[in-house]
């Protein structure tokens, strides 16, 4: 059966050990985690975990059921469909030699991202968007020489019904 990418978002108790329960479930049962983002919500007692995994249909059904079984998981939703907004972010440190600086800034403006740090020989660029956009952006910067990269996993929110 075909594996597909799934974005799962869950509200969990904001307590020590909860992330370990979630991650431990994946490792113990042989599921994979492609990316993971965790932060508190506006309710300080609740955190949101956004997790991307590759799984076929029976697997994702098991994963969701296993996650729901964890006592600290309050709510879980699969946001893989079109009804959710998805974003990732990356910080990219690119070599910025004088002859490349103008070209880098042109790419930055096309992609509507921004330079957040600059030095004699580098720019750090902040880019956000869907996964494809970030990949495309990185590909365009590659010829200039990427020094370092820090990338978040996907974040997603369900679109509110109008």
């Amino acid at each position: 059966m075909n594996e597909e990418k799934h974005i799962l978002t869950m509200l969990v108790d904001n307590e020590p050990g909860v992330l370990s329960r979630v991650v431990g479930l994946f490792s113990a049962r042989g599921y994979n985690i492609e990316s993971l983002v965790v932060a508190p919500t506006i309710d300080p007692l609740v955190s949101r975990i956004t997790l991307v995994t590759n799984a076929n249909l029976p697997e994702i059904e098991q994963i969701e059921k296993q996650l729901r079984k964890l006592i600290n998981v309050v709510k879980l939703r699969d946001l893989s469909g079109k009804n959710a907004v998805k974003r990732e972010m990356a910080l990219i440190c690119v070599k910025a030699k004088p002859e490349n600086r103008a070209e880098i800034l042109r790419i930055v403006s096309i992609f509507r991202c921004k330079v957040v740090d600059t030095g004699l020989e580098h720019y750090i660029i902040e880019v956000s968007g869907n996964e494809d956009k970030i990949n495309a952006f990185i590909n365009l910067l590659k010829p200039m020489g990427i020094k370092k990269i820090a990338r978040t996993g996907a974040l997603a929110l369900f679109r509110e019904p109008n």
């Binding site: 020590p16 050990g17 729901r68 006592i71």
Partner: protein
């Protein structure tokens, strides 16, 4: 009321009607032990913490209550892990209290410190570290609630010393609400009506009953259901006793060492109704070939059990007893006579499979282990609580002791944990002082928790140990005989102790039988003794458990004796 953490813990134990605790003291639980002295709660001092957890497990299964353990930090805590894992696999409600180093030392690699909450995260239903005594009463309440509700399981509470020995306000009888935890007890009626439709059209139905029947107290409802519809019943190891073993509809256990008719009927049925089971690999064999002609109905309170191992036609999340009650009401108007006529050929077919009598064994001049269990069954009139160790002894007990009632067969089914049976028998005997409790053991596995002899003697528990002594780790030896060219690597144990002397060293009665004609006298003498008894049956050394399905093969491919 201001009380210390230790006192609060005991107050909640009393609220939860705990009458017995199995444990072993140590530095980090000394405050709890000190306060326990002032209560009427009985404390059973085991000789090893693993024994405490297995005993609490046996107690829980024999009584239907939550088993409680109390151990210290570090090694006390790590010694409980095997017992907890076993209870987790078999869904047995336990609350395990471990002591912990004071909160300011946690993480410092202090003396007798381990991260037991981290260690047991994957083998408990849930676990807690209590860092503030103000949370203690609520957490203990939640632990009992979690342990016994939904799909039951073990819950561990780690209590640092400076939580048990400082004071806080105690609020009695706190209500437990866990917003993210709401087990589904009532099944979906629409799904149940679909099941009734399937039953009405099925020509070759089979019921497959598991431990969920026992845990939910559904044995009576299951019996009514199967008898009303005349559907043959098989069971998993954990399901034995969930349906009367002496009923003509009972086909015996299914799976790797299942009966011929149970395995054949499951493979050729057109409707398989699995209730309180999880389709474990020891049951299904090769899953692609399992019940391949059948529509499968799967009832379980844990949604993760459903569609985990086998595809399911009608999934039903619900408590087994509630579900069977509803089903029994729904099938009332069904006209049973034409159904029974339609299924006559199926019942006849099952009878021809039964006639193969694959549990027959050849009697020789050495004692056959099967014979010992058969005679044990006859002499106890099937009324005893049987615990087992793991391996051949366990399978022979399951095959030759026919359980008519639930809560009478206590075995480490999922984890398959040697050393389980004897401490579990201790716990069962404490729960049921009116019952004969027998641990069916091998000479290998009995040695894994033999130290609990002292516990049995200290509390005058008349537990009976039946050792099927073949001088081997018999089940592994059997695999080596059948699949490894008889290379008996590290399975020979023929320098075991003299079990009679061992019994006597503890102050128990030791008996031995070496010839078939001695079996009944030894059993009679041992079973009638008011003492703890070890009965050492020197049995055929290289006897195998049959039928046997090689691991990963379809369950129709049985090796027969």
């Amino acid at each position: 009321m201001e009380l210390t953490g230790a006192q609060i813990l005991i107050k909640v134990f009393e609220e939860e009607k705990v009458d017995t605790i199995f444990g072993f003291p140590g530095g980090m639980v000394i405050d709890i032990y000190d306060k326990l002295e002032d209560t009427s709660i009985k404390h059973i001092l085991v000789r090893h913490e693993q024994g405490a957890v297995h005993a609490a497990d046996g107690y829980a299964r024999a009584s239907g209550k939550v088993g409680v353990c109390l151990v210290t930090s570090g090694p006390g805590a790590t010694n409980t892990v095997t017992g907890i894992a076993s209870a987790h696999m078999d869904s047995i409600p336990l609350v395990v209290i471990t002591g912990q180093v004071p909160t300011h030392l946690i993480g410092n690699d202090a003396f007798q410190e381990v991260d037991i909450v981290g260690i047991t995260r994957s083998c408990t239903k849930h676990n807690f570290l209590v860092k503030d005594v103000k949370d203690l009463a609520r957490v203990v309440k939640e632990a009992f609630y979690l342990a016994r509700s939904g799909r039951p399981g073990p819950v561990l509470i780690d209590i640092p010393k400076n939580v048990s020995n400082v004071k806080a306000l105690y609020e009695p009888d706190q209500q437990v609400t866990i917003k993210s935890y709401n087990p589904t007890y009532k099944p979906n009626m629409k799904q149940l009506r679909k099941v009734v439709d399937l039953i009405a059209t099925s020509e070759r139905p089979v019921i497959f009953a598991g431990g969920g029947i026992i845990l939910s107290g559904a044995a009576q409802e299951l019996t009514t259901f199967a008898r009303n519809l005349q559907i043959p019943v098989t069971g998993s190891l954990m399901g034995l006793g969930g349906f009367p073993g002496s009923d003509p509809l009972w086909m015996g256990m299914i799976g790797m060492h299942g009966t011929y008719r149970a395995n054949m009927s499951t493979s050729f049925c057109d409707l398989l109704i699995g209730i309180g089971v999880r389709f474990d690999d020891r049951v299904t064999g090769k899953t692609d070939a399992f019940a391949s002609q059948a529509k499968i109905v799967h009832v379980d309170i844990d949604p993760t059990s459903i569609r985990k191992n086998v595809p399911v036609t009608i999934p039903i999340v619900g408590d087994c007893r509630n579900t069977l009650e509803s089903l029994n009401a729904l099938i009332k108007p069904l006209d049973k006579a034409p159904l029974n006529d339609k299924r006559k050929p199926w019942i006849d077919q099952i009878q021809t499979w039964k006639d193969k009598n694959t549990l027959a064994y050849k009697q020789t001049d050495v004692i056959k282990p099967q014979y010992v269990v058969e005679k044990l069954y006859e002499l106890t009139r099937g009324e005893a609580i049987i615990t087992t160790e793991v391996g051949q002894n366990q399978m022979w007990a399951a095959q030759y002791y026919h359980f008519d009632k639930p809560n009478h067969f206590i075995t480490s089914g999922g984890l398959g944990c040697m050393g389980f049976g004897f401490p579990a028998a201790i716990g069962a005997q404490i729960a049921r002082p009116d019952k004969t409790v027998v641990d069916v053991a091998g000479d290998g596995s009995i040695q894994m928790n033999i130290q609990e002899m002292a516990t049995a003697l200290q509390y005058h528990l008349p537990v009976k140990i039946v050792i099927l002594n073949n001088g081997y780790l018999g089940m592994v030896r059997q695999w080596q005989e059948l699949f490894y060219d008889k290379r008996y690597a590290s399975t020979c144990m023929d320098c075991g102790p003299d079990f009679i002397k061992l019994a006597e060293a503890y102050g128990a009665l030791g008996l031995r039988a070496t010839k078939p004609e001695e079996v009944i006298p030894v059993l009679e003498k041992g079973l009638s003794s008011p003492n703890t008894v070890i009965m050492d049956f020197v049995v055929a050394k290289e006897e195998c458990v049959y039928p046997m399905v090689p691991a990963g093969a379809p369950i129709t491919e049985m090796l027969l004796a």
